[in-house]
Amino acid sequence: MLRNALRSLVFFLGCLLLVSAAIFCLVHLTPGNIAEIHNLSPQTAHVLHLDRSLPVQYLLWLGNCLRLDFGISTVDGTPVFALLRDYAPTTLFLTFGSLFFSLLIAIPIGMYRGLKPLARLGKALSVVVYTLSSIPAFVLGYVVLAVAFGVFHSYITTPPEGPFHFWKWTAYYLPPILVLALGNGSLGEFVRFISLEAQNVDAAMFIKAARARGVSLWPHFLRSLILPVFNIAVTNIAVLLGGLVVVERVFNFHGLGWLSWEATLKRDFPVIMGITLLMAVVVRVLMLLNELLSTWIDPRLRQ
């Protein structure tokens, strides 16, 4: 088990290294000079190491990244780390919030659909779910905004200030979370996956045997479903993080998605590199957790 964990760790670090190299190469292969694009004086370019050779630049950048210094924005000079620190919480909150809601909806529906494939209610629910998740986030976002503006006459796209107030927070954070949770494909994916998985577990011999023994099936079901659900949730994190670009833009949320959009428009390379690296770290950490959890939960993987 320890060896497995060690192997996962090495893989984790290797992947991150590769990701960083890939992003760096991608960004620095851009036609045109970064200093020229941003009208930077030679002095500033020197500060940003833009006058060094590429491998040296990469090593410097990587070394700085390890010290949590991701460079500064070539547009306004803000340290990228400060930007990430300011914007990452919103993004993570939205991501995990929407993941939570997605699963909250998808698990019961998926299990019902998988265990009772003939039930009309399940069929109807899955039609609703699939249709919902076919709606792109920007369309659903506008619908939600139209409702908020037109029906409730309230403007909720600025963050609540002052002390924590439940309804204010809910009004601000819930719409984008709901849009992400319901639309943009992930809910449908979850329901589809969970229902298939539930069907598989239901058809498993040990469930049949447990049924024949007359014991309660829930412990068996739940323990078998933990891993697949966790798996799909983790693999969907990357998709969700991507979906945030749109949602944050529609709702004017200032998070990493919004930042990456801005950075792309302004061709702010250090920022976009920082974001990608941070997201890669988040995704990788979750995958590492997933692997460790799998080994911990599934006895068959322990050896």
Binding site: G32, E36, I37, N39, L40, S41, P42, Q43, T44, V47, I72, V75, D76, G77, T78, D86, L145, F149, H153, S154, Y155, T157, T158, P159, R249, V250, N252, H254, E262, T264, L265, K266, R267
Partner: protein
């Protein structure tokens, strides 16, 4: 049914401008209310400021407007269009405008309490001219005529010019930076700490930038002019124009600097807002790359201009909120020659011109030049708010199709577009807008010296000996009336030459909540007169 629609381009594609200033200012009569102090004004900007340092900012209107609140210049232009002293109490010119001496106010303090001196002015000048600074070349160019600076005392400073300069005080509209904040180091970088934490002498001091990138300003109480009425100004960042309008309608913000033309009537009808039109001193145009063998032919450019029903385009796309222009100036500018007529909409004439230029319509209704079908690349920048631009281009494409010419429209992100047009010159036609400050100097736009080779603003590589000589004369002249006449001639020549198809100048509209009173705006810097604005006590919440 409501007609809402496109609104015109925001700033950004301000390629830049120089010349002198004409103001269009609207005063809202208010009665003789006393102006109570206090309250907060929230206003929305659709793009982020790049830096709060007014010297290092590059064509960013948000930064420009904020710097008007935070910083001051030696002189400013009042709402009558006259130069008035601000940091400078008075000034004298000598030797036929070859030298100018400013006498500065003595009661000025920076927001951090340090007194303002002539050294700060010299420092700012040095910083702008320092090749290590991240400064737009244009700012540097305007001060290029200065030969030397001498500080004659704490409050006296002298500038010597290379030659006589017309209206020399108009060169000193740049904002003054505190030299102590930089310890006198003149190589300014966009990324200095100062850029995030500015210290100025303006009406408002910089409080902080929130996590949401809103900017909080509070009134500077020890301002020499007596401090402003509104206690706090908050700039909120709202890139999405839909949300911008909703936030205004739902009272989340009090002021929107630029309202889409389609929304103007709607806002005015609510009765909750003052809609303040102001002239932007900008004009939109189609520019033709004269390196292209076909577009080099004058008749072709004229034909293109004739083929467009620009009046209709303006009506349909911008709800008629603007004015057609016949030359390279805004009609509000002193350089605009009112005698030059706008090209009419005349397709038959256009066809005739093309025929005479050797472009023949084939059987398949495709125009051919020397046997090859005529086809152009039209580049247009994308940015939030340029939807109108797209409609304009679509119509251009449509009108030219009637002549048998195929136009391929290529959308580019603004930065990309700038690179491709200004650096790579990879275009046939561009759609863009020039935004001027108050000078009417167009030499960088059409002078052959500023063409492709020098990467100047004459990116269409237009070369015309007569225009060059007129522009040269313009630069050498110091007499305003002579310059006006030269501009009139230039206008005439360029209108006939059609290096651009001059389209229109658009009227902009600001919307501000009725609770803010005594609102006067400056067309270019917007907040120049903010110290008069106030919010009645019962309207503050």
């Amino acid at each position: 049914m409501k007609w809402s629609d496109q609104y015109t381009s925001r700033k950004k594609h301000v390629l830049r401008g120089m010349a002198s200033c004409v103001l269009a200012v609207i005063l809202i009569p208010l009665g003789i209310l006393a102006a109570p102090k206090g309250g907060q004004l929230t206003y929305a900007e659709p793009i982020l400021p790049d830096t709060y340092n007014p010297v290092t900012t590059s064509d960013n209107e948000t930064s420009l407007r904020l710097s008007e609140l935070l910083f001051e210049s030696l002189v400013y232009i009042d709402y009558k269009g006259e130069i008035k002293g601000r940091l400078a109490e008075r000034w004298n010119t000598f030797n036929g405008n070859q030298r100018i001496v400013f006498y500065l106010r003595k009661d000025v303090k920076w927001h951090d309490g340090v007194p303002f001196t002539a050294n700060d002015v010299k420092f700012t000048y040095d910083a702008i001219m320092d090749p290590l600074s991240d400064v737009r070349p244009e700012s540097r160019q305007a001060l290029g005529v200065i030969k030397s600076v001498s500080v004659l005392g704490d409050n006296v400073i002298r500038f010597d010019f290379n030659s006589s300069v017309a209206d020399p005080e108009r060169r000193f509209l740049f904002k003054i930076l505190p030299s102590h904040a930089f310890q006198g180091k003149t190589g300014l970088s966009k990324f200095d700490k100062f850029s995030k934490n500015p210290v100025g002498t303006g009406y408002y001091r910089f409080d902080r930038e929130t996590k949401n990138r809103d900017v909080m300003l509070s009134v500077s109480k020890d301002h020499y002019g007596g401090y402003s009425n509104i206690a706090n100004i908050k700039m909120v960042y709202q890139p999405e124009v839909t949300l911008l309008m909703q936030s205004l309608l739902l009272n989340a913000v009090d002021l929107v600097v630029e309202v889409p033309p389609g929304k103007v009537a709607e806002l005015a009808n609510t009765g909750k807002f003052q809609v303040i039109p102001y002239n932007s001193l900008a004009f939109a145009f189609f520019g033709y790359n004269t390196e292209n063998p076909i577009l080099k032919i004058k008749e072709v450019r004229q034909a293109f201009t004739l083929a467009m029903d620009r009046a209709k385009m303006l009506d349909d796309i911008y709800f008629g909120k603007g004015e057609l222009v016949s030359g390279p100036f805004s009609p509000a500018s002193w350089g605009y020659n009112p005698d030059v007529a706008v090209w009419p909409y005349d397709v038959a004439k256009a066809k005739q011109l093309l025929e005479s230029a050797g472009l023949h319509l084939g059987e398949d209704k495709v125009l051919r030049y020397k046997g090859a079908p005529v086809k152009f690349k039209l580049k247009i920048p994308v940015y939030s708010g340029n939807e109108g631009g797209l409609s304009v281009c679509l119509r251009f494409q449509y009108y030219l199709k009637a002549l048998g010419i195929q136009i391929d429209i290529e959308h580019r992100e603004y930065e990309k577009w700038k690179e491709e047009v200004k650096v790579k010159h990879d275009f046939d036609i561009v759609f863009a807008e020039w935004l001027f400050d108050n000078s009417s100097d167009i030499s960088s736009l059409f002078h052959s010296a500023a063409s492709k080779e020098s990467s100047g603003d004459n990116f269409i590589s237009y070369k015309n000996a007569r225009v060059d000589s007129l522009l040269d004369k313009f630069s050498q002249s110091i007499n305003h009336e002579v310059r006006r006449r030269l501009n009139y001639q230039l206008h005439e020549v360029l209108a006939d030459e059609c290096p651009y198809t001059f389209l229109w100048t658009l009227e902009k509209n600001a919307a501000i909540s009725n609770k803010v009173q005594k609102v006067v705006v400056h067309p270019y810097r917007f907040f120049t007169f903010v110290n008069d604005w106030f919010i009645p006590e019962d309207e503050r919440n």
